[in-house]
Symmetry: C2
Subunit: 409 residues, 2 copies
């Protein structure tokens, strides 16, 4: 008998019909002999609707009140799913974040989990009941206020519960059937992966794969919680993310990801002396600008260009900060480019297979796509290209690395 | 400087515009120098919408889950109103029932308040903030579950808070401008009362006056909390309910009320011996049938007819219980009449003015309206009449007792 944490996202509980389908699936899981803990998100687009309401009553809603508001949506969904379960004969009980023991800091809208006290959930499980936990919520440790874990926080709730309760697996139910070798909207023959490593999934979510939430994947990796990303519409098995299995032959490249949400800033002609980059990125951090890629090229003339990418909505702030620092650091100019895209190849096998970078660059060159920035990690290579070239880049790379071919393992 | 508890019902916080109007009014109250504690209900018809959702996922939703669901609505409204207050420069902080210290029993859907721990609210007030409390909710004392105080529970929340915090007054804001001498939809020249006693208001709410919730009036009377029922649309002063002031000359009759939500059951030809009525009403109580009026006429033949009224939705259950008992108690028959109405006159002055009953009966007779049942209290006389006669009965009584004339006091 296993203990499974099942998380259902907003589309999986969007209306009463979907909730009843979830209840049937949980009943099936229980009949198989497994114990289940559920985590549910707010119904459909309710979180957005609540935020819209907030914007109608306040020009700058306080974070504490936004958290109180938003978490009402997940709580409502939890109560309804518990009712749907009762209706199919499964003894269920809903819990708020506070009731399920999520103690957080006081960073409203993006609270960090400090501790998970699983006592009430363990007691419910011992009594043969199915706990249904409202996702993405907790209670702050000193002020006892309601806190929200942020967008995608229900994934984090589920993984944290799986770790606390030492569950055998954490199933993340969503509206796609797993993790694909590329976005199927761009690459029609993209293949669903049966399995990948935490590190690979982490790199993928960091470079444009929209689900699951990166923070949850990081938590799963650190706490060794096997993740199963799967569909609540087909109920078929999806993609497992687990620790790397050294005995298994690895695919060199697992997937091609892309991200079109960023913009590029270049601070040009910076004197090549220590401290300049530190000064710039400290100032950006203080304005809460979320810097992603950073590339610096030293030129022969003793000056350097520093380029970095930021979420497009942070571009104005990034430009302001950079312009303000320009005289001080002696840069010759600051330019912005909102029309970029990043395309990445991710694969654990890359570590033992040289030549992946070369293949990537050759492939893009053969397609006539210019590379503007490059950054790499041990299992990922990313290139910044023109925005309009992104689909072609993804398709060409998917072909070049033969990702449409089924790998037997 | 006074401390005022202000309760805003669903229509008063139905949309962002109404919430902003509430925020402006609270800001005005604060500028006047008063401290304020707010209690808010769920927006508009949200409670009904949540119940409808529940009925779509479950044929018989568990009470605990319904409470978890319904209270999310009031909590959401509290967060939004707190934001609206912040937006007009009022430092506000929302609280759930649990956070504001409402400890209840575990009777889900209709929980009783056991204790109100006002510590967090007192601390917020001492810090110069306006607490905004989600209405009609608490936490159960042993199981720590979320509980719902029932329909109209926000009134009770407000009065209980006013008692706990020793507030100077409890203002109940609603979509009518106060308590009227009769329903203005039936009697166009019905007059708003400036003031009435708790006992009068209690009798009125017991006999068809829809607001405020009877339970809240009872609580206010027992804890000496002055109530002010007023409009959140005009913001004009409304009706005060206070303890009876013996120095004041009382109107004989304050208002005519009516209730068309009940049905009548008659158990006829019952042998007139002790214990029969006890047997019948015990059995009805065990089926949770809410019996209102009871009238028994002893006949000369040693048998008696017992008639009683129940909410129309309880009629089937009441008939079942009565029919089942009929052979046992030796009754000759059970009849149901769903088409009745009750019309009542209420007034504290009645105690010292004989002849009110006579005037009432004469007035109805003159209008050709037959009286089917009569019941009285010290300050109320109620008559059951045909359903179709109710408007005419109310109009005739309002005229007969000259309630359209302004009383100078």
């Amino acid at each position: 008998m296993a203990l499974i944490v099942q998380k259902y996202g907003g589309t999986s509980v969007a209306d009463p019909e979907r909730m009843r389908a979830v209840a049937d699936h949980v009943a099936r899981t229980r009949r198989r002999g497994d114990d289940v803990v559920l985590v549910v998100s707010a119904m459909g687009s309710e979180t957005d609707e609540l935020l819209h309401l907030a914007s109608q009553v306040s020009r700058r809603p306080p974070g504490r009140e936004l958290d109180m508001l938003i978490t009402a949506g997940d709580r409502k969904a939890a109560a309804l799913v518990a009712m749907a379960l009762a209706d199919v004969g499964v003894d269920a009980v809903s819990f708020t974040g506070s009731q399920s023991g999520f103690i957080t800091d006081t960073t409203h809208r993006n609270a960090k989990i400090l501790e998970v006290r699983g006592d009430r959930l363990r007691a419910a499980l011992a009594a043969g009941r199915v706990p249904v936990v409202g996702g993405a919520q907790g209670v702050s440790h000193e002020t006892h206020d309601v806190t929200f874990l942020g967008r995608g926080g229900s994934d984090t709730t589920a993984v944290a519960l799986a770790a606390t309760l030492q569950a055998d697996a954490c199933e993340l139910y969503t509206d796609v059937s797993g993790i694909f070798t590329a976005d199927p909207r761009i690459v029609p023959d993209a293949r669903r992966l049966q399995r990948l490593s935490f590190d690979e999934l982490l790199e993928m979510t960091a470079t444009g794969c929209p689900k699951p939430a990166m923070r949850a994947v990081e938590f799963a990796r650190n706490h060794h919680v096997p993740l199963h990303i799967r569909s609540s519409f087909t109920w078929e098995p999806g993609t497992w993310a687990t620790e790397e299995d050294p005995t298994m032959e690895q695919a060199i490249i697992s997937a091609v990801t892309h991200d079109t949400s960023e913009a590029k800033v270049t601070v040009a002609g910076v004197p090549d002396k220590p401290g300049v980059a530190g000064q710039l990125f400290r100032a950006l951090a203080e304005r809460d600008v979320n810097v992603d890629m950073i590339v610096q090229n030293v030129s022969l003339e003793g000056t350097t260009d520093i380029s970095f990418t930021v979420p497009r909505e942070d571009l104005d702030a990034a430009l302001e900060v950079s312009e303000a620092l320009r005289p001080e650091v002696g840069a010759s100019g600051v330019t912005a480019d909102p029309d970029i895209a990043r395309v990445s190849v991710v694969g654990a096998g890359m570590k033992t297979h040289p030549g992946v970078a070369a293949t990537m660059f050759e492939t893009l060159a053969a397609a006539g796509i210019n590379i503007e920035m490059i950054s790499t990690s041990a299992i990922r290579i990313s290139c910044v290209v023109r925005g309009e070239a992104v689909d072609e880049a993804v398709q060409a790379l998917h072909r070049a690395f033969e990702l449409d071919r089924v790998v037997t393992s």
